[in-house]
């Protein structure tokens, strides 16, 4: 026989003004099993909670209903209070008589009161069938995997490693640093980035707690928060980092010539190359897809090229190395995969991909880099001449919902202003036109930066979208409009720089699937809540930072990266993880093993038990959303403490009540 207690809150006058709280208590006492009922002005307050605790102890209650506001406000509060005096927290339910009653029946006290009692009765019937539950304890591996070795990955990893945790950074390219290593000077203070970045990279490389995987990608992810197993596939670079002396002889002999991605196609490289040519300490690597040795091997024709092997005096090159897999066991993952620039070939009206003197923003950065292909001098790619007129086109592919990306890429206005200012500082008699729609210079000191550009470097901002760019001989004709003067403009330019849209890295869809992380319509990782949980994904244990979540500049990327490190340190401050036990469970004798629930589950919490040939629930991952319960055709699935039977009782309570007392 249950001994139940009912506590009715006035919620100040939130409830008490529409519901007769005394009558409610009286009505509750009449209900089956209720041995205690009282009301109080603020049940959630300390004295209110004390009343609940006292009653539980004095009357040996084995079930409690608190009739108050929404459970999302204070369910935890009351459950903790109950737990503190020995009542299993899951034997306490909230009857929402505020949002579900007093707030919507403010003008009809009798009806509201009767309804409040019904709601309480329903909650009591649920409690009667509740099972006492323990929170699920999960093991926690206090190690982290950071996917992406750009500035976000680097900063997050450093904080975590400094805090004493092991970190594995998985980087797709042969070197870490990401797109920031292609930039030489930043806005708004014209800071020397390579110095800053090199320091951080050196810290990462030297850090005893950081394990760096280069040329590597995630092959598979298994497990759940606190207990992930990441399988990492490393592509061979074919150059032994231990024996290579970086003499560079191999680079000279390679017969292959392909566009160099790091230099955005401005230069060519061989199949064996230094990924970042401006970093002389980087060792060469071989890109298998470009290497003749492998293509000849495949086609079975002729001698397999091994010029580099022959040229190497240290025997550092071994073309027989194959891909290999490694595993890391971690408790948390940070997705810091960054961005790619939307390809200029998508804008044929600008000659993108066709006209050599139409380049994207990152290519222009390479021109600006003192260690870059032109030693920091701005030259036209086509003929090496110094451009006297440059047109920078902002919003190339962004803010274009009809045909390209609807979103704004956030950093372009500032980097375009920076690029234009640097150009003018170098070519004093040159002219820089910037075609824009809105100038987005919103962070601290950004506005002043742009204004200075206009006043000191005489940047010419033209408000209007460029319609067309085409080549006429060696001149680029830029057709645009100046909406402020209402005129069409034709500019004869020497160079056109496109601030192309920032999009998620190539391959993000497959990666997101592997990592079980949600992405939005544009391919960016979805955060749990844009305001309150901006760095947490919808998957527990997976955090997001940087441009993989949405385009942003370095400052905001680093803030997010540090935030992920903070969140993970918080998670790791305990030795175990607690998971809510209100999860799904399978009625084994009813389950037919159809597997519909496995596909339906958005969290990957449902698996097939191959031995028993039925479905099973990974209770650590299950969020209790109920999708599998609805999907199961055999009713083999139930939510613990929210079973169909419980709810049918609750509905019965409502259905058999009269409206007015």
């Amino acid at each position: 026989m249950k001994k139940l207690g009912v506590f009715v809150c006035w919620c100040g006058s939130n409830i008490a003004s529409s519901v007769d709280v005394d009558q409610t208590v009286a009505g509750a006492l009449k209900l089956d099993g209720v041995v205690h009922a009282e009301n109080y002005m603020y049940m959630c307050s300390d004295p209110g909670q004390q009343k609940v605790k006292d009653a539980i102890q004095e009357k040996n209650l084995d079930g409690v209903v608190v009739a108050c506001c929404s459970p999302s406000m204070h369910e935890n509060t009351f459950r903790k209070a109950a737990g503190s005096v020995g009542l299993n927290p899951y034997l306490l339910e909230i009857a929402n008589i505020r949002e579900h009653c007093s707030w919507v029946h403010a003008n009809n006290k009798p009806v509201a009161t009767a309804k409040a009692i019904s709601i309480i009765e329903g909650a009591l019937d649920k409690v009667k069938q509740n099972l006492p539950l323990e929170t699920i304890t999960l093991d926690l591996t206090k190690r982290v995997c950071v996917v992406g070795g750009g500035i976000a990955g680097i900063m997050s990893a450093l904080d975590l490693a400094d805090a004493g945790y092991d970190v594995a950074i998985i980087e797709k390219e042969p070197a870490i640093g990401g797109h920031v290593s292609q930039i030489s000077t930043t806005f708004p203070y014209f800071q020397n980035v390579p110095e800053l970045l090199q320091k951080k990279i050196a810290e990462v490389e030297a850090h005893p707690r950081i394990n760096l995987y280069l040329n590597a990608e995630v092959d598979e992810l298994e497990g759940y928060v606190g207990n992930f197993k990441v399988t990492i596939q490393t592509k061979p670079a074919f150059v032994d980092t231990a024996t290579c002396t970086n003499c560079g002889k191999c680079l000279d002999v390679c017969p292959v010539l392909v566009p160099d991605e790091f230099n955005r196609g401005l230069t060519k490289r061989g199949a064996i190359f230094r990924y970042n040519q401006s970093n002389e300490s980087q060792l060469p690597v071989i890109m298998q897809g470009d290497c003749l040795h492998f293509s000849e091997e495949e086609s079975g024709t002729g001698e397999k090229c091994s010029l580099c092997v022959d040229a190497c005096t240290e025997n550092a090159i071994d073309l027989s190395v194959i891909r290999f897999l490694q595993e890391e066991l971690v408790g948390a993952i940070v997705m810091a995969t960054g961005y790619d620039l939307y390809s200029p070939t998508n804008l044929p009206e600008y000659g993108g991909g066709q006209i050599p003197d139409v380049i994207d923003g990152l290519a222009f950065e390479r021109l600006l880099d003192p260690k870059g292909p032109t030693a920091g001098k701005i030259f036209r790619p086509s003929d090496g001449q110094v451009p006297k007129i440059i047109v920078f086109i902002q919003c190339a592919g962004s803010r274009d919902p009809e045909r390209h990306k609807a979103y704004c890429s956030r950093a372009c206005c500032m980097y375009t202003a920076k690029q234009a200012r640097l150009y003018k500082q170098q070519v004093g008699d040159g002219t820089a036109y910037i075609s824009y729609i809105d100038i987005r210079s919103d962070s601290r000191d950004f506005e002043e930066f742009v204004q200075q550009g206009m006043e000191e470097e005489n940047l010419v901002y033209v408000r209007g979208r460029v319609a067309k760019v085409f080549a006429e001989g060696s001149v680029l004709k830029v057709y645009t409009a100046d909406t402020l003067s209402g005129r069409q403009l034709e500019i004869e330019a020497d160079l056109v720089v496109l601030a192309m849209a920032m999009e998620p890295k190539n391959g993000v869809h497959e990666l997101a699937k592997k990592m079980n992380v949600t992405i939005d319509g544009d391919g960016f990782f979805s955060e749990a809540h844009i305001k309150l949980y901006p760095v947490e994904s919808t998957t527990k244990g997976v955090y997001l930072a940087g441009c993989g979540q949405s385009p942003k500049d370095i400052t905001d990327t680093v803030s997010q990266a540090l935030a992920t490190a903070g969140k993970i340190q918080t998670m790791f401050s305990n030795d175990t993880l607690l998971a809510d036990p209100l999860v799904a469970e399978v009625k084994e004798d009813v389950c037919s093993g159809c597997g519909i629930c496995v596909d339906i589950c958005p969290y990957g919490a449902r698996v097939m038990d191959d031995f028993k040939r039925i479905s099973a629930v990974n209770q650590a991952v299950c969020q209790g959303c109920g999708a599998c319960i609805a999907a199961c055709p055999n009713k083999a699935c139930e939510l613990i403490n929210s079973t169909s039977r419980q709810f049918i009782r609750v509905i019965d309570d409502f259905a058999h009540k009269t409206q007015v007392i």
Binding site: M41, Q49, D159, R440, S559, A561, T570
Partner: protein, 477 residues
């Protein structure tokens, strides 16, 4: 101060009906819990807005004892004054209140309200902070938050929380859902304290918590690290920009005040009314960049969030007044966050909001309307609009006292009073003083999402710093 508002609203309407629940007291009495842990487990967070709250919860969950200091009677900061947030139009209270409740109830967080930082001694890992607790005239150790005093207080005058648009009692909580939900008395508005008359609150208080003789107190807190998250305020356009009416035209208000009007728990219970006569405005003009992007006379910087919140205001207004017309004067529209661009586009295409590219130069009253003189740079013509209501997106500035706090803590401020970080790019949270971190709008105006992230970032830096101290003590690398 200011005109007392006559909204034609039934005075007996209790604000608490439309609002969120009233929360009971939480752990703020003493410092025993703080002092029970070693210094490398103690953190002070100065500022109880969304930034400080995020940091405090992160640190509390990580096992650190946090003492949160705020000069106001309750936490929540500016977000409490908002009605909905962009770009999702979620109710601000619904997203914030669970966090304020969590903070208030957190076993590891101690709240010290109505406090100011007076002095700082010591160094990284061992800061001695002298805190001055202002006089509130209410003994919070006795107060149960029953609210009787507020109900009985006969004084109702213009309130700061309501941006002078609504009335509050002299003994008040900032809002019905205040955490902690304990009142304070505004000495300037209290009849007893100014004229020696009344004293009703003392008479009705069931636990005798009113203490008219209360004195200021000073106490010291010893912590390992400090996070400064003091937030922002609105530029004093009323005094600094006479061309916009100098604060004398009642139907010219700023964005934050408009938020109060929009809010269901605000001075008009969410009804769209003009301050002057309580009539529903049919034509509203929003003016962006008021005091911002104005290096000659006001602030040279951009206040970053105004373009988005103005579009939000315009849309919320249109939802309430379907046949209303909105004009927005702008220079550049800054909508760079996730989903922000689409939000602005929808405002134009679906809500019929008219954007005019140009600055508004002058506002004056005529025949009950506010005349707005501006320019439309895209047609090259002058524009004059007779508006029912004008809302100014005024510049946002660091909260009052930032400069003094900087001096006390040994930090630098830039020309506009924002705290300066160690490196703008790679560490916008660290300062030149090890162990002291800055986050949120006090470092530079930003929206809630970026503020949240910075709060968590500051929590990360604190954890790294303090854990390194711990490991050093244990001789562990």
């Amino acid at each position: 101060m200011g005109d007392v508002l006559n909204l034609n609203v039934n005075e007996s309407v209790d604000r608490t009906i439309a609002a969120e629940p009233v929360i009971g007291p939480c752990a703020f009495g003493n410092l025993e819990e703080l002092e029970s842990v070693p210094l490398d487990r103690r953190v002070m967070v100065i500022g109880g807005g969304i930034c400080g709250i995020t940091a405090a919860i992160d640190l509390g969950n990580a096992g650190y004892q946090v003492v949160m200091v705020d000069r106001l009677p309750s936490i929540g900061g500016r977000m409490l004054q908002l009605s909905e947030t962009f770009p999702t139009l979620d109710c601000a209270q619904c997203t914030l209140t669970p966090r304020t409740v969590e903070t208030g109830q957190h076993p590891k967080v101690t709240l010290k309200m109505n406090c100011e930082v007076e002095k700082l001694d010591g160094g990284p890992g061992d800061f001695k902070v002298l805190i001055r607790q202002k006089i509130t005239y209410v003994d919070w150790n006795k107060c149960t938050g029953c609210g009787t005093c507020i109900q009985k207080c006969p004084t109702k005058s213009a309130a700061m929380f309501e941006r002078d648009a609504g009335l509050m009692t002299a003994i008040y909580t900032l809002s019905p859902q205040a955490v902690p939900n304990k009142p304070v008395i505004d000495a300037d508005r209290c009849r007893y304290l100014t004229k020696g008359k009344c004293g009703v609150c003392a008479k009705v208080c069931p636990v005798g918590a009113i203490d008219y003789e209360q004195k200021e107190s000073l106490f010291e807190v010893n912590v390992g690290a400090i996070i400064v998250a003091t937030g922002f305020d609105v530029y004093d356009w009323k005094n600094k920009m006479p061309e916009l009416g100098g604060g004398k035209i009642p139907d010219v208000i700023d964005g934050l005040t408009f938020e109060r009007y929009l809010s269901a728990s605000g001075p008009s219970a969410g009804a769209m009314v003009r301050p002057s006569d309580g009539v529903e405005p049919k034509e509203i003009v929003f003016i962006q960049c008021v005091g911002s992007r104005n290096p000659e006379y006001h602030k040279s910087y951009c206040s970053r969030v105004c373009c988005m919140y103005t579009a939000k205001h315009a849309r919320l207004y249109k939802h309430k007044v379907r046949d209303g017309q909105v004009y927005i004067f702008y220079i550049d529209i800054r909508s760079t966050g996730k989903g922000y661009e689409q939000f602005i586009q929808q405002s134009v295409s679906e809500e019929g909001i008219i954007y005019i590219r140009g600055r508004a130069a002058k506002l004056y009253e005529e025949n009950g309307k506010v005349m707005v003189q501006g320019a439309d740079t895209l047609t090259g013509r002058k524009v004059e609009i007779a508006a029912d209501l004008v809302v100014l997106a005024a510049a946002l500035v660091p909260n009052e006292g930032a400069l003094e706090l900087a001096e006390i803590l040994g930090l630098t401020c830039n020309k506009d009073g924002f705290f300066v970080e160690e490196d703008y790019k790679l560490s916008s949270i660290e300062t030149e003083r090890q162990g002291i971190y800055i986050a949120g709008c006090c470092q530079g105006i930003k929206d809630i999402a970026d503020t949240s992230a910075q709060g968590s970032a500051a929590a990360s830096k604190v954890q790294v710093f303090l854990s390194s101290i711990r490991r050093q003590k244990q001789n562990v690398v």
